[in-house]
């Protein structure tokens, strides 16, 4: 599956990468905290930091809950931040349903922990300016969320 946003590759950039293992729940919090810290150090606005941290947490959590394994990349270029997850797993059979708040295919066990509430993708959508999802059933999913950064005065 191709990277849907090629323009990010051609500019000076800052990149964070994480490996996501199966049922490794703690990696979501760790990755999101690390990204948050980096963005704060780079001087992004608090609202932008918040939104990107939420996107990272939810996107990684989706890989942990629904896929076998995957990777997270956060690419920071001057005018935007791209959050990219790519996983190997079951894929999303019905993307339209998956985007609906409250719809979830998570297991009972995962739900008991307070995950799998069917809010992950809607949260990501709400926090990003652009969201691209490419999924193939039985193969995996690529998710790309973009947050455009406001110019600093």
């Amino acid at each position: 599956m191709n990277h849907p946003d090629k323009e990010a590759d051609s500019k000076p950039q800052f990149k964070l990468e994480f490996k996501i293992g199966e049922k490794d729940f703690s990696v979501a919090g760790e990755a999101a905290s690390k990204v948050k810290k980096t963005l704060q150090q780079l001087g992004l606005r608090p609202e932008e930091v918040r939104n990107i941290a939420i996107i990272v947490y939810e996107a990684v959590m989706n890989v942990i809950i629904h896929a076998t394994h995957g990777e997270l990349e956060v690419i920071i270029v001057p005018e935007k931040v791209v959050v990219l997850t790519e996983d190997t797993g079951m894929g999303i059979p019905d993307l339209e349903m998956a985007m609906k708040e409250g719809y979830s295919t998570a297991t009972h066990e995962v739900r008991e922990m307070g995950f799998g509430a069917g809010m992950g993708l809607p949260n990501i959508k709400q926090c990003s300016h652009k969201l691209n999802i490419k999924s193939q059933v039985g193969v995996g999913t690529v998710l790309e969320a973009i947050v455009y950064l406001s110019s600093k005065d």
């Binding site: 939810e58 922990m113 926090c127």
Partner: protein, 112 residues
Amino acid sequence: MTLGELVNLLGFETLTGEVNLDKEIKSGYVSDLLSDVIANIEEGSVWITIQRHVNVLGVAKLRDILAIIIPRKLELEQEVIERAKSENIAILRDYRPAFEISGLIYNALKRG
């Protein structure tokens, strides 16, 4: 109102000692769904939840939550408490159910 003042007022158990007791409480939130908390809690809040696994700390850290408040005197693993201390997140506990605790905190914060 600081977290310490709230603890004194309502008699909560402090499982993490002095952590964050000097910090000012901005607001509060009650939910057991982690995605709901991540999306809607304000920074500097107290969070009332029955979720007690280690991943709640990731959520708390991510959104700069001051304290997690566990209702109905539910049990916690020592590992979670130790981890919370090292991440600077307070864990408080009370015998009352979440509904009562949130009502008491809401009134306390409103009075200031």
